[in-house]
């Protein structure tokens, strides 16, 4: 009888486990509120992206067109695939002191893997990750971006 008991137990257990699975899918089928699909182009205005989503590197500028980048190239060194290229220049301050500053902050979006290492490396929090994700363009060259705005200056007090 041991064999028969084992047999019936197997049947009972497998049926129970199958029903458990069906209960789960049945719950989802009847509860449409659980649906996680986003109808993207329609809900563009109300779209809420997760907090840690990383879209592209941007350099925030204040209203008076100032940024926090000192041109230390820490981000350029930190980048694993050469996405960032910083061209520096020497600015002469009113007191006649020469000071290093950025001329152009070149960012290759097409090479970027959104690894966040540059943001971590930046000592002055000059760059950050934006949540924009609609990056498609017609020319590859359009993906090479200059992050500092023309005529922008280093913010006072940032060393």
């Amino acid at each position: 009888m041991g064999f028969l008991g084992e047999y019936i137990r197997t049947v009972y257990k497998s049926v129970a486990s199958l029903l458990k699975g069906m209960k789960m899918t049945g719950y989802y089928f009847t509860h449409h509120k659980e649906i996680i699909t986003q109808e993207y182009p329609d809900n563009r205005d109300t779209l809420i992206l997760p907090e840690r989503f990383r879209g592209e590197v941007v350099m925030p500028h204040t209203e008076s067109n100032e940024h926090r980048c000192t041109g230390c190239t820490a981000c350029e060194l930190a980048c694993p695939n050469g996405t960032i290229k910083i061209i520096t220049k020497f600015e002469v301050s009113p007191e006649g002191k020469k000071k290093k500053a950025i001329d152009t902050f070149i960012y290759h979006l097409e090479l970027c893997t959104m690894c966040n290492l540059c943001i971590v490396a930046c000592p002055t929090d000059a760059i950050k990750m934006a949540q924009s994700f609609e990056h498609s363009v017609y020319k590859r060259a359009d993906l090479t971006k200059v992050l500092n705005k023309p005529g922008s200056k280093l913010m006072e007090g940032v060393e």
Binding site: T25, G26, F29, E39
Partner: protein, 358 residues
């Protein structure tokens, strides 16, 4: 009240009074044929859409929702695409058999439609061996699959066809035993007799637990016979690309696809007829008022409602369970379904002889 029986009666008397007898009969054949083909097309469209929606909701998705309101024209658009596509044939394929295979599969599905009672007195051919006819004809469809697999000259196709053949041949036994247990209770193979015997209650309720067990066995066996997940290892996408219809494209592929869904409809219709009373409304012996209210719902709605309920259950299986391995598949059949089915048949015979059913 709306009834297919009355409409067909009106058409019949009109044709008989306006045309000579032979031409009237011939035109009735043509009408029935056209109706069947349109039912096929309708089922293909509806079931594919239903499957996509059901699967979407079960996987917390939305499913097709772009073509038409709520995406209801999605399958129509897909069909249009398939019609316009080129039917390719690989070099080295057996041209004759390659082209023949989808039609064999389709023809089997069409032949199986004949004894299905769609509503009260609406049945194409009430053959006296009804249920046996269904088991016999459905065993031909495996030939179409083997033919498609072999003639494609592709290893995936051949492997898929072999798996499918082994599966269909073994699960036919369990389905047959489940059907037999109901035949024991009714004492007739004729489909109309089986439906008529359920006027006082459906067999799944009248036949106690053995009927329930054979119902479960039947559903499992027909899921396997129609090569659907979790028994879809004949076309296991991750291993065999698409199994026996890997090399098919365009309308020939569409025929296989359509045949799969029509076969699901047919087997569930048979299940509904045997276990859930076919077009018979839900009756409880003795409750006259309740029975009378149930009679107001047209019989075709009862039939299609039950059938679609069973189709939904089979879809539920598909989107819940993972695919079985070949040894698990054969283990399930030969170690569980078949012995349980045989024992159940014995139990059913005892119930039938002693008249323990209601």
């Amino acid at each position: 009240m709306f009834s297919i029986e009355k409409i067909s009666g009106v058409v019949h008397t009109w044709l008989a009074s306006h045309l000579p007898a032979r031409i009237a009969l011939l035109s009735e054949f043509v009408i029935v044929g056209i109706l069947m083909i349109s039912l096929f097309a309708f089922l293909g469209l509806v079931l594919v859409f239903m499957e996509r929606k059901v699967s979407a909701y079960m996987q917390i998705r939305l499913g097709p929702n772009r073509v038409g309101p709520k995406g209801i024209f999605q399958t129509l658009a897909d069909t249009l695409k398939l019609i316009l596509k080129e039917g390719l044939r690989p070099t080295g394929a057996d041209k004759f058999l390659f082209n023949l295979a989808p039609y064999i599969v389709m023809m089997v599905a069409m032949l199986l439609m004949a004894p299905i009672p769609f509503a009260r007195n609406v049945q194409i051919w009430d053959v006296n061996i009804g249920v046996l006819y269904i088991s016999a004809i459905s065993s031909i469809s495996v030939i179409g699959i083997l033919m498609a697999g072999w003639s494609s000259n592709n290893k995936y196709s051949l492997l898929g066809a072999m798996r499918s053949g082994a599966q269909i041949v073994s699960y036919e036994l369990s389905a047959g035993l489940a059907i037999l247990s109901i035949v024991i209770l009714t004492g007739s193979l004729r489909v109309s007799d089986i439906v008529a015997s359920q006027a006082t209650g459906w067999w799944i309720f009248k036949g106690h637990i053995p009927a329930l067990i054979s119902f479960v066995i039947f559903i499992i066996a027909v899921t396997a016979e129609t090569n659907r997940a979790p028994f879809d290892l004949a076309e296991a996408e991750s291993e065999l690309t698409a199994g026996f219809h890997t090399e098919y494209s365009g309308m020939q592929f569409a025929l296989f696809f359509l045949a799969e869904y029509v076969n699901i409809f047919i087997v569930t219709a048979i299940g509904a007829t045997l276990f859930l009373g076919g077009w018979m409304p839900f009756h409880i012996g003795g409750w006259e008022a309740f029975n009378h209210i149930m009679d107001f719902i047209p019989s075709s709605i009862w039939f299609f409602g039950k059938t679609f309920f069973l189709i939904f259950i089979i879809m539920w299986f598909r989107w819940t369970f993972p695919r079985l391995r070949i040894d698990q598949l054969l283990n399930l059949e030969w170690r569980y379904l078949l012995p349980i089915g045989l024992f159940n048949l014995l139990l059913m015979t005892v119930i039938g002889i002693l008249g323990w059913h209601f």
